[in-house]
Amino acid sequence: MRLSPTDWRNLTLSALALAFVACLPWLVGNYGLSIGVTIVMYTVLATSWALFSGPTHYISLATAAFFGVGTYVTGIGIEYLPYWTLLPLAGVIGAVLAALVGLATLRLSGVYFVIFTLGLAEFIRQVITWGQNVSGAKGIYVLTSITEAHIYWQLLGLAALVYLLGWAIGRSRLGFALRIIGDDEQVARHSGIHTARAKILLFLVPGSVAAITGAILAPRYVYIEPSLAFTPMLSFQVVIMALLGGTGRLWGPLVGVIPFTFLWEGISITVPNQTTLLLGVSFLVIVYLLPKGFVGLFGAIRRRMGSEGLV
């Protein structure tokens, strides 16, 4: 793979930006850091979600399923294994689960996939509950000395990996194939692209990344039980944030996550009694006013300025 000067410039700028945000724990207080953790967590989840759902147009609501599995990998594993082995392990388990789901559903299209992924989180939650019923164990305690700053840095590292991976996929044959599938699956198939295999391969990314994210965040929750680990809200929030940013560009979800986190924070502070209502309203506003997200908005502004001779 040969890199152009623009690529080198972008890589350098990204590395500098990463170095800067890595200093956050020293720049802001604990509250600022907890917002930072929220932003990086949703950036990782929404970006990996958009890597798959952006080109293929398959709306996946399985984020909570993979995330929950990841938290349980840490929750159960921390008693028996060193911590550093748990994150790759969560990634592998997430990928295997994603492959199984992909094999079962990605040959189907559209709404079947959405429904299946929504049901998946509930299904795994019930399996774990059944396991608890049989074993008699209740919630799991994750008592570690891992601090919020450690969690933040791990998430940042994961975010860097996700961006690198997305960038590499975008330049690869797989990325090209996926764009064709997204435009017209029939055409892709007739061009000789193995569409099912391409989709399953790509679906491993959000599955694995969400599981690792869950594994990283488990120590923050201290106490893990199915209803908290598999909350369906998570899947919906990731979709909303990714759509707000726009899935057309790699950086799209990021520009959705940041304003949405602050908007959500503002809503929680000012009207704590109507958070869910306002979340629904903001979702409607986003869908109606920004159907292509901020990415689409920026594109439109640039085009308009271009036509007026400003750029």
């Binding site: 509250y31 608890q132 008592l143 923050r220």
Partner: protein, 399 residues
């Protein structure tokens, strides 16, 4: 235009969110409270938690505020909704400490959310006197987080309390030896059932039926039909709020005739009595209070007067008692968190549930385990050392 309007609204929301809370007069203390107002646990918090926050602040302010180092300070509440999401609980606690600079922070609601935020309370050194968390690991928790106190007890004594009450009824000759046990297949239900089943067997009971049903089951009539056909003398359900109601209703439809009928969480709720009226005479459940105690009666009357709703007969009074512990400790030693924690460890407190005295593991060893509806009041019949238990009575036919 529309886009701009949206941007303006968003900007406004952000601006208001981040604007500092108006500078308050010096003689006001900010009290932070974080608990569910939405999500799965919002219903329970609306019964047991939020009304007590309101009642406590109004009560303290009505008597002229809190005496801090000789100065009367009025209380002002900042409430946040954590959406039953531990990540939000953690964030809201940090926001209370760092942005709002709250002087007092109350513990959150439920076992999961209390434990999830324990490290944050611990890092800030805030005394965390939990009142809605049940755990059998109080010793481990207090070793890791010495600022955390547990007052509501654990699953083990609660389940054993049920066994003890049924054993007493049997030994008196009021009921026979056959017991049917069902449980909701979720955390607390599973834990209770796993303690109770072997304990019933050890006590010489015959388990004629045992089963579990998934959380959120809509139709429990098959469960109750199976229970009825097993012809038990006593029925025990380690249930959650929706199924506590559903099982009671099905038992009345099937006309299950047992001398002891036990349902778990929410049996002590006023809405349970509101729903079934006098027909629940003799029903047993988790919790209970010393209903004849004057302190409790005054509390219950004030609760109804200030919040417009009756307290429940399990966690409500416990929640309020822990606020009283905090109140008394602050008046004794001021706002120094470390001193407050030491004070709580070293002293016993006179509260609406009676004396509250934490042991060396920061655990309240004496709490109500089983209550029974008698004459429209859910009275405590078994506890781990509380005063005022009444005799358990055998349940008659459904009215």
């Amino acid at each position: 235009m529309k886009r701009r309007t949206f941007a303006q609204i968003a900007a406004l929301a952000l601006a208001t969110g981040f604007a500092a809370v108006p500078a308050s007069a010096q003689d006001t203390l900010k009290v932070g409270a974080v608990a569910p107002k939405t999500g799965p646990l919002a219903g329970g918090a609306a019964v047991s938690y939020w009304p007590n926050v309101k009642l406590w602040v109004e009560t303290v302010n009505a008597r002229g505020g809190l005496n801090v180092d000789g100065k009367q300070m009025m209380l002002e509440v900042i409430e946040y909704d954590d959406q039953t999401n531990p990540g939000e609980t953690i964030k809201a606690v940090q926001r209370l400490v760092e942005q709002d600079q709250a002087d007092i922070i109350l513990p959150p609601y439920s076992t999961g959310l209390n434990l999830a935020s324990a490290p944050i309370y611990h890092r800030y050194g805030i005394p965390m006197i939990t009142s809605t968390a049940t755990t059998d690991k109080a010793d481990e928790l207090s070793a890791q987080f010495p600022n955390v106190f547990i007052s509501l007890g654990g699953a083990q004594p609660i389940a054993l309390g049920a066994v003890e009450v049924l054993t007493e009824l049997r030994d008196r000759g009021d009921i026979g030896n056959k017991v049917a046990i069902v449980n909701v297949a979720d955390a607390f239900g599973i834990e209770l059932a796993n303690v109770a089943k072997p304990a019933f067997a050890d006590a010489g009971f015959e388990l004629v039926y045992e089963s579990s049903y998934p959380l959120g089951s809509q139709d429990l009539s098959p469960v109750m039909k199976a229970v009825k056909s097993a012809d038990p003398d006593a029925f025990v359900a380690f249930s959650y709020p929706p199924d506590t109601f559903a099982l009671t209703e099905q038992a009345q439809i099937e006309d299950l005739q047992v001398g002891a009928f036990y349902t778990a969480v929410a049996t002590a709720f006023p809405s349970y009595a509101g729903r079934f009226g006098e027909s629940i005479e003799g029903v047993l459940g988790i919790g209970g209070v010393n209903a004849d105690d004057e302190a409790f009666q005054t509390y219950a009357a004030r609760h109804e007067e200030v919040t417009g709703a009756k307290p429940d007969y399990w966690a409500s009074a416990m929640v309020y008692s822990t606020f009283e512990v905090l109140e008394q400790s602050i008046e004794a030693v001021g706002l120094d968190n470390a001193a407050i924690i030491e004070h709580i460890k070293a002293n016993a407190f006179d509260t609406v549930i009676g004396t509250l005295d934490f042991d060396e593991n920061n655990n309240n060893p004496s709490f109500w385990t089983v209550g029974q509806w008698q004459d429209g009041v859910f009275k405590g019949v078994a506890s781990t050392g509380r005063e005022g238990a009444v005799d358990v009575v055998v349940k008659g036919p459904w009215k």
